[in-house]
């Protein structure tokens, strides 16, 4: 009788252990299956909730840059002291830098957004190596081009501005020399940016000289493209 009781208890224990093991394997399998699904969903969710930096309106960076450029010129022209002239030169430069950065921002790609579109395209189940490499190549080429175009226009505007400061406005002798030097350096940078393309850009867009600032404004679903 005791043996029967012991056997019964052992059977019960084995049943419980089996039950628990079975459940554990089910849970593990479910979790594993969820993780395989979750990596795509996780990427999509993270991309969807990524915080965009707050902008009052889509044109404000250009407006700020142009305002700095104009105020810098008016202030430089009306100032008599060297300290203020240097300050307004700084303001002109900040304005031109912001214009250059706006050109960069409107041309540069987003790796996250590109892959987000790939992941959420319901008409495609899988991508080949060639598709992915072409997509990456496009992104790298766009990035190289965006940097080159921004540098070209930023340096060109700075060269023009410093030439105006040196030869049109009344500048003290030592400041004039500094403007001529910095303007010359920026002119060389602008020329180099116009003529030299990176490898990815050359492969994707071709080797010919191209300096269009392709500015895109997106507002309420309407896209406005401006070609210069």
């Amino acid at each position: 009788m005791i043996n029967a009781m012991i056997n019964t208890m052992i059977n019960i224990l084995l049943f419980i252990l089996t039950f628990l093991t079975l459940n554990l394997s089910i849970i593990t399998t479910v979790v594993s299956a969820d993780q395989k699904i979750d990596s795509i969903n996780f990427f999509v969710q993270q991309n969807a909730k990524a915080e965009e930096k707050y902008l009052f309106n889509p044109y404000e960076k250009i407006i700020s840059g142009v305002a700095a450029f104009l105020i810098g010129n008016v202030g430089y022209y009306t100032s008599t002291s060297s300290v203020l002239k240097v300050t307004y030169t700084g303001i002109q430069t900040v304005g031109i830098i912001n214009i250059g950065r706006s050109i960069y921002a409107s041309n540069s790609p987003s790796l996250e957004k590109s892959f987000y579109h790939l992941m959420t395209d319901s008409s495609v189940d899988s991508y080949s190596k060639k598709d992915l490499s072409l997509n990456l190549l496009h992104i790298f080429a766009q990035e190289e081009r965006a940097k080159r175009i921004a540098l070209f226009y930023g340096s060109s505007f700075i060269t023009a501005q410093y030439a105006i400061n040196a030869f049109v406005y009344k500048s003290p002798g030592n400041l004039k020399n500094i403007y001529i030097f910095l303007g010359s350096v920026n002119a060389i940078v602008a020329l180099y940016s116009a003529l030299y393309k990176g490898e990815y850009e050359k492969y994707y867009y071709g080797p010919s000289i191209e300096i269009k600032p392709f500015i895109t404004f997106v507002s309420s679903g309407i896209t406005l493209n401006i070609d210069f």
Partner: protein, 374 residues
């Protein structure tokens, strides 16, 4: 919102007029650049205790640290100083050059009031605290009282500060709209080198020029405490209350306040303990952000309202461009700041009377501010 300001402001004035008045110092001087100032606080003449979301908001009110938008770690080098003005050269010479007989003689021949001020600091911030080190807060004030006898009141300050700031939201309640109460504290250690003296032509006859000015040094710790009440209603203004320079041992000039001569300078809202109440509001529109702030300063712990120093400050901003405007009885200024990702530059045009009613006509000054963000 304007109606609420018009209603609340007289109540504050009425309440403060019932408090006992403090001893009125004969010769008080204040400045737009205060210890811990950056270009933004200078441009608004410290009327910024309710303006949230800017890099330097915690300088105006440590409770605004809780509203820091950017949680990245940042190191910023910030400088603001008076660059042009009717009296700038004398002040700069006294601070940066050796004091000679020629310097003293030139001072005694110059216009009545000359002043120079500058603040430079390095700032490190993350989402938990802000740490700043200011190796130089410089101040030079000179005042000629009696051109016939040629006595000059000189006040020179070189202040070094190490400061840590933290603030957080402590309470949220929603009777009808959501209200957020935040508090903040800024602790700082200071080394205050100063000279507050009077020199005359007679002194030059028996003393060396370099012996006329000898700096004294004070060390100590102090604190600023702030509260800020914000809400999500577009008509109800935000409120702030602060006490600044708690436990500050610097009382230069005040020890001479009872002397027969009233020539010694006493500073106001710079090193002394003072408190403020402010109301303000901010709104974001498609054409930019607008903020207004009305600041009421008090002596010590809300002892007496200094009505002549009530200041209105306003700010218009886009992401990369800001326009500042401030007005009070003795200060009127308009400033511009232009930002890029690593570099900000600002210019401020001001008409100021640092000596208040004692100054017959305002001085026209230009301040420059530079921030380098690493």
């Amino acid at each position: 919102m304007i109606v609420i300001v018009i209603v609340i402001a007289p109540l504050i004035l009425l309440f403060s007029s019932l408090l006992p008045s403090s001893l009125l110092l004969a010769f008080e001087v204040t400045h737009q650049i205060r210890p811990g100032s950056v270009f933004e606080t200078t441009a608004l003449n410290s009327a910024c205790s309710t303006i949230t979301g800017t890099i330097f908001a915690s300088r105006c009110n440590p409770a605004l640290f809780a509203y820091s938008k950017d949680s990245e770690q940042k190191i910023t080098i910030s400088m603001v100083g008076k660059a042009e003005g009717d009296s700038i050269d004398n002040g700069r010479d006294l601070i940066f050059k050796p004091i000679t007989e020629d310097t003293i003689r030139r001072l005694l021949q110059e216009r009545n009031f000359n002043t120079f001020s500058f603040n430079g600091e390095i700032l490190f911030r993350n989402k938990f605290f802000e740490l700043s080190y200011s190796p130089y807060y410089l101040l030079a004030d000179l005042y000629i009282f009696n051109p016939a006898f040629l006595e000059v009141s000189i006040h020179l300050v070189s202040l070094e500060i190490l400061r840590v700031t933290h603030g957080r939201k402590i309470l949220t309640f929603s009777p009808s709209n959501t209200f957020n109460l935040s508090s903040g504290v800024s602790l700082y250690y200071y080394k205050h080198s100063y000279e507050n003296t009077i020199i005359s032509l007679y002194d030059l006859s028996y003393k060396k020029a370099v012996d006329l000015i000898t700096f004294k040094t004070l060390y100590g710790t102090s604190a600023d405490i702030g509260l800020f009440l914000d809400n999500d209603n577009k008509y109800i203004p935000s409120l702030s209350a602060q006490v600044k320079n708690l436990n500050n041992k610097v009382k230069e000039g005040k020890e001479n306040a009872n002397s027969k001569s009233s020539l010694y300078q006493s500073t106001l809202f710079l090193f002394d303990t003072y408190s403020t109440i402010a109301i303000g509001k901010g709104v974001n529109t498609i054409i930019g952000g607008f903020n207004v702030d009305l600041e009421f300063p008090f002596d010590e712990f809300y002892r007496e309202l200094r009505k002549k120093y009530i200041t209105f400050g306003s700010k218009y901003s886009l992401t990369l461009f800001s326009l500042f405007f401030s007005i009070s009885k003795y200060y009127k200024s308009i400033g511009l700041r232009f930002d890029s990702s690593n570099f900000n530059i600002g210019v401020l045009y001001a008409r100021e009377k640092d000596m208040g009613d004692l100054q017959p006509k305002p001085e026209q000054s230009i301040y420059l501010g530079i921030d380098i963000i690493l």
